[in-house]
């Protein structure tokens, strides 16, 4: 099969060269671009051992395979303010590598100085988001569709795609980079989103102290281990029903829950997307990886510290009609952890943060 293809290509090339020789005098420029023959270099995702061992392979759409050139283009786009209306903001303005690809603001501010209404989401391990529901409310059904939205959102990059594409098309490098990534110099928003999604899928984090402990390559403190027991204990932390466990290493179920934040729901979350009132106030469970870098917390960034988050589940739960039954201690305000249990749980949670992820040179700005 491969050798057939090789011969076909060889033959095509020979033909091109011969054709070129004959046509030389009349038409130079057209024949020098063998567009049909070019394919970018495949670059499958590098799966860390703990994810390899416990999870299905990463899911990458068949119409957007990972390639060296596509990832490189996506990375350049991710860090380039060219996509915003006034050339001042890039994806990385609100999704900073140092913050696990979120930022440290409660709400991020767009190019016009207007704040959004939800906390910027961290970006990692997205190729394991098998339900393909992105944003806090799940409204984007693929990473490619997700990547389209911030560019035109009036409180974010506030651009039009027409304008963004025109800027890219007139740029000295981008048309060549699109040619290398996708075999065409004609830039579209779809190709732009595909490249960004390819880069985002490479943002994989699974090298925390807890991962090393699971792999037998590191140890945890007594306090971290006690914290893990609280996490896994249905009558104490009971965190594992939504946030993974030692055999489910994404540390999220990627599902939507009302976790008892408010008596009156003002942001309907998933309910706005599905139109089902039973989904009002439901938001996606975030991963507990990299919490050391991703404060503030919750869909609206209301908690500045992990202590506040733990206090919420311990004694701050509030009833509303759509509260998840897993928030079972709501009538007592929460699971009532002791101060030492809270400290242990916090120590465990921080053992899920991965310094090598935020320091990874492949993920830093090179523009």
């Amino acid at each position: 099969m491969m050798s057939w293809r090789k011969y076909t290509i060889k033959f095509a090339l020979t033909f091109c060269v011969l054709g070129g020789l004959f046509a030389c005098s009349s038409n130079d420029s057209e024949i020098l671009e063998p567009e049909e023959v070019y394919t970018p270099t495949p670059k499958p995702l590098d799966v860390p051992p703990i994810l390899e061992r416990l999870l299905p392979p990463p899911s990458v759409p068949v119409d957007n395979p990972q390639t060296v050139e596509g990832i490189a283009l996506g990375k350049k786009l991710f860090f380039d303010p060219i996509l915003s209306g006034d050339g001042t903001q890039s994806c990385a303005s609100c999704h900073k590598p140092d913050n696990g690809f979120t930022d440290n603001n409660r709400f991020s501010t767009g190019i016009d100085g207007i704040e959004g209404t939800r906390n910027s989401m961290p970006i990692f391990n997205l190729a394991w988001n098998r339900d393909n529901k992105f944003f806090w409310d799940g409204r984007a059904t693929s990473l490619e569709i997700q990547a389209l939205e911030p560019v035109t959102n009036p409180v974010e990059m506030h651009n039009s795609w027409e304008n963004a594409i025109s800027s890219l098309q007139n740029h000295p490098q981008y048309p060549t980079l699109y040619q290398e990534a996708f075999g065409t110099k004609t830039i579209t928003k779809e190709l732009t989103a595909k490249a960004i999604a390819q880069f985002e899928r490479t943002l994989i984090s699974a090298n925390s102290p807890f991962d090393k402990y699971l792999l037998g390559e590191g140890t945890l403190t007594e306090q971290e281990l006690r914290g893990f027991q609280i996490f896994m204990d249905e009558s104490r932390g009971d965190c594992f029903h939504c946030h993974g466990n030692d055999n489910s290493p994404l540390w999220t179920d990627n599902k939507f829950h009302n976790n008892g934040l408010d008596a009156i729901i003002t942001d309907k979350g998933l309910g706005n997307v599905t139109g089902d009132p039973n989904h009002d106030g439901l938001f996606k469970s975030p991963s507990l990886r990299n919490l050391a870098y991703t404060a503030p917390y919750m869909h609206d960034g209301r908690f500045e510290t992990l202590d506040e988050v733990i206090n919420h589940y311990s004694e701050g739960l509030v009833y509303s009609r759509t509260i998840d039954p897993l928030m079972k201690a709501v009538s007592r305000g929460g699971v009532q952890l002791s101060p030492s249990e809270k400290a242990d749980l916090k120590a465990f949670l921080l053992s899920l943060s991965d310094p090598s992820f935020i320091a990874n040179p492949d993920f830093q700005n090179i523009n």
């Binding site: 416990l54 999870l55 394991w128 249905e234 009558s235």
Partner: protein, 278 residues
Amino acid sequence: MKQITILFIFIFTIVGCSNNDEPETEIVGCTDPTALNYNPAANTDDGSCTYEKNITISFTQNWDGNEISAADLNTTEFVNEAGNLLTIARLRYLISRIALKKDDGSTINFEEYNLVDLSNNDSRTLTLSTPVTTGEYTGISFIYGFSEEDNISGEYRDLNDADWNWPTMLGGGYHFLQLDGTFNDSNGNIQPYNFHNGTARVSDGIFEQNFIAFDFDVDFTISDNATIEINMNISEWFKNPLTWDLNDRSTDLMMNYDAQKDMQRNGKSVFSIGEILQ
């Protein structure tokens, strides 16, 4: 080529005709070349032809006969045997080791396990990868949850991905059932319940398996691709033999040995075989 073949057959037929005066010996068997047991020598079909067909399992849920679908989640109110008025927010359960028994005494075992999630329609049908042969069958068996030897922590990647694991401190492996919702307690207040079932913890480090093996005698014929319905009557979890009052036991049940074993006891009347369609 086709024409030559036809011509050849034609000539052969003419020649064969004239030479064949005496009656041919009758050889009975399956004369259909597409059948599994095609007998090229046979000239009289005896109805014995067998074929490979695919089996799909359809997982359905009801409350004492009233079918329950995703649309009932969070909305429909049910009354259990103890009189608790309840709603269902989430129902997921695991079925494994499905097998069909043939009338010749043999058993066809299927490797698949299935995590049914009431909110996800795709999870409610399972097409088995091993085809079966047409013929007479006498039984259907399966396991609710995982058998002790199958219930290995971390072993099943799709179930890990679904966050379906059962804590190591409670014996590990996987959940068998998650039934969550709300009920009106004896004071009329809305309270949550988490009816989760898996391995039972006797004491520190001592665990007791908790799966249920179902073995139904059902006579049926497979003549075509078939869909077999496995039905869960949810009300039975709260009814038979033990009347389960959610006022007494509603949450923190995973580490409660008696609750886990009572669930297993009540679970024995929960499943039945429904329609077999083809």
